[in-house]
């Protein structure tokens, strides 16, 4: 078995199992906790509307906060949109998923994907530089923050290297790229990458709790 066979076979299966089971474990572990009912008299009915609004309200900072965190949000959006575009609209990625789901879809030209990937990688490095230099982020960061950055950035770096044919051996390079993605999947349930789920739960929770009161969140 070559490294590529390993990456495409058992490594992928193990990674996906850990990814799925880990996510379920973590979500259920929190949802399974008790929660006392709020007995106060609600100001208005339909708190769930406020919960849904909360999902969108926090997608961009409220006006008074734009000067202080607007740029940080932009960098964040570049990272996330970049991740999304490269993952789903890069032709090799689409073909990989198509193998599993059984249908294909429209993709972007290779040059565009490479460009997006470079921009995303740069944005990831900017985020890291900020984390290392900004006194607030430096203080509150822990192992998880750096590990998350590492496992997210690695697939970009290895992917770009594969695409540019920078590896001594293409197949081994591709295998390394795949393995770096499996590393991301394996790490996913254990760290803050889970924010891709928590953001819904947390924003909804606060949105509905405060809509119930008529307050602002």
């Amino acid at each position: 078995m070559t490294l590529l066979d390993f990456a495409r076979g058992p490594a992928m299966q193990i990674a996906i199992i850990i990814f799925v089971v880990g996510i379920v474990w973590r979500l259920v572990g929190v949802w399974g906790l008790r929660q006392k009912k709020d007995l106060s008299e609600a100001r208005s009915k339909g708190a769930w509307v406020g919960g849904l609004k909360g999902l969108f309200a926090h997608a961009w900072p409220y006006k008074p906060f734009v000067p202080s965190v607007g740029t940080q949000y932009i960098v964040g959006y570049v990272i996330h949109l970049g991740l999304f575009i490269v993952l789903f609209f890069g032709t090799p990625h689409m073909l990989f998923f198509a193998d599993i789901v059984g249908f294909t879809w429209w993709t972007l030209p290779g040059g565009v994907i490479t460009f997006v990937a470079v921009i995303t990688t740069v944005a990831l490095f900017i985020a890291l530089a900020k984390r290392l230099t900004n006194p607030v982020q430096r203080l509150i960061s822990n192992f998880d923050d750096y590990a998350t950055w590492f496992v997210t950035t690695l697939p970009f770096v290895t992917g770009l290297a594969t695409n540019a044919n920078l590896w001594p051996d293409y197949e081994t390079g591709l295998a390394i790229h795949l393995l770096s993605v499996w590393l991301l999947l394996i790490y996913f349930p254990f760290g803050k990458l889970m924010h891709s789920f928590w953001f819904v739960v947390s924003r909804y929770t606060t949105g509905s709790r405060f809509a119930r009161r008529g307050g602002m969140a």
Binding site: W25, R26, V28, G29, V30, W31, L33, R34, Q35, K36, D38, L39, S40, E41, R43, G54, A57, H58, P61, Y62, P64, F65, S68, V69, Q72, Y73, G76, N134, P135, V136, Q137, R138, L139, I140, S141, N142, F143, D145, F190, K192, M194, H195, W198, F199, V201, S202, R203, T205, T206, G207, R209, F210, R213, G214, G215, M216, A217
Partner: protein
């Protein structure tokens, strides 16, 4: 906790020559061992690990945005004052002891055990530099309600005997005497009578039955007694059957602020029992922010079932009264800036109430830059104003507030929280503020269209 030492460096930079400010001195109560303190903190932290708390503690992505919304961080520039950092020991305890990955964190010791030194270090962060104002939630991309978490973390701190002395003292006094600031039932009764005479307004004290039970905060009873006369005048004019009661009058809840849930419940139950006894349909809360939080939003949860009466902040009551036309007001020809008490507006949901009242007064309201529900806190809530060692930073926070209010160019400053008001008075004197903070309630009472004039 402090030893005499000769090893402190001189501070030759400051205007006042002294030694460099020593680290914050930590207050401790009781004579528990360090282990006992940690254990008490952990047990009481664990009581709060419900689904909502857990969601919040899982969701943080350490982006640091919350710092930019916090008045204390903005005033100090100290990264330790980053909102989410203030609950670090609480979060650490959750992740190590209760979260879905607890076994993992423990096995690899990724989250070390919380130590007593850590708890002591966090006393300043959990008490001196957080007013539970909730502004950080607005900026957080995950919408984490950090103020609630800080309030919860205080539970563990209280039981570990790690509360700032001033806050502990007033809380203990409130528990023993019924009021944190010496407004005992006798003092209350005397002062109500005095205000009745002084303002020639009919007072109702200890009526057996009444539709409306009126509460007062000890700040008003002791410092702004005019509030009592103002409330009485308004209720009399509206023809309400109302009463003050010596067995349930204190609106503040220092049990809640300091972190003793048992005492919080006892304090709330005094009021709830009294209201039930006299058959009150409505309990009116005075101009006090946290009282609104304690009774309006947490009261029923202390009681264990829905409250059998309505609870309103006085500004809501006044808004309803002007809305329904049962209260007519004279026009006040002034421009006004309004300081929103965080617990009533952003966290309480009654942001529009004072605005309706101001509109009825015919004033021109000029909103400050980040006003209304996005208001910046005055820095005195959450018990912070009681703590002396917090003074320097509190004045700095207020400095920013003064600038913000000053930018409106309004002639008159109004709020509807007497705790904010005493902070404005105290800081105003210290910082030579050229304005005075006024009470919305008193402004209304001073501008009633009396029966005869109607």
């Amino acid at each position: 906790m402090s030893n005499t030492t000769t090893e402190m460096t001189l501070d030759l930079e400051a205007k006042r020559l002294s030694v460099v400010e020593p680290g914050t001195r930590v207050d401790v109560q009781g004579d528990m061992s360090d282990e006992e303190r940690v254990e008490k903190a952990m047990t009481n932290f664990a009581k709060d690990f419900g689904r909502v708390t857990a969601t919040y503690m899982e969701a943080c992505i350490h982006c640091g945005a919350c710092a930019h919304a916090c008045p204390f961080y903005k005033a100090s520039g100290n990264p330790r004052h980053t909102p989410i950092w203030k609950i670090e020991p609480f979060k650490q305890a959750y992740k190590r002891e209760a979260g879905p990955l607890a076994f993992f964190y423990k096995a690899f010791n990724l989250k070390p055990k919380v130590t007593v030194d850590e708890l002591k270090e966090w006393q300043e962060l959990l008490y001196d530099t957080c007013t539970l104002c909730g502004r950080c939630t607005l900026i957080c991309p995950m919408s984490i309600d950090i103020a609630t978490l800080v309030g919860m973390a205080r539970h563990g701190m209280f039981h570990a005997g790690l509360v700032p002395h001033e806050l502990y003292t007033v809380t203990e006094k409130a528990q023993r005497e019924g009021s944190p600031l010496g407004a005992t039932p006798q003092v209350f009764e005397d002062r109500v009578e005095w205000m009745g005479d002084e303002h020639e307004v009919e007072m109702h004290m200890n009526e057996d039955q009444a539709d409306v039970l009126v509460l007062m905060s000890s700040i008003e009873i002791q410092k702004y007694p005019e509030s009592m006369a103002a409330t009485a005048k308004i209720l009399n004019q509206m023809g309400k059957t109302w009463t003050f009661r010596t067995d349930g009058y204190e609106a503040t809840n220092f049990g809640m602020l300091s972190g003793n849930t048992g005492w919080q419940k006892e304090m709330s139950m005094k009021v709830i029992d009294t209201a039930e006894k006299i058959g009150a349909k409505l309990v009116i809360l005075p101009e006090c922010g946290h009282a609104y939080q304690a009774l309006r939003w947490q009261g029923a949860n202390m009681y264990g079932k829905p409250l059998p009466f309505k609870v309103q902040h006085i500004s809501e009551f006044l808004a309803d009264a002007v809305d329904s036309g049962s209260l007519k007001l004279k026009t006040v020809n002034k421009t006004v800036a309004f300081h929103d008490p965080c617990q009533v507006s952003r966290r309480g949901g009654a942001t529009s109430a004072p605005r309706k009242v101001l509109e009825a007064l015919g004033v021109k309201l000029i909103e400050s830059k980040s006003g209304g529900s996005m208001n910046t806190c005055c820095g005195g809530g959450g018990g912070v104003i009681t703590i002396h060692r917090a003074d320097t930073l509190r004045y700095k926070v207020m400095g920013a507030k003064f600038r913000q209010l000053g930018e409106t160019g309004a002639e008159m400053m109004v709020t509807s929280c007497s705790n904010c008001r005493q902070n404005f008075d105290d800081s105003g004197e210290k910082l030579n503020w050229d304005k005075q903070m006024n009470s919305l309630l008193e402004l209304v009472a001073d501008n009633l269209v009396e029966e005869a004039e109607k």
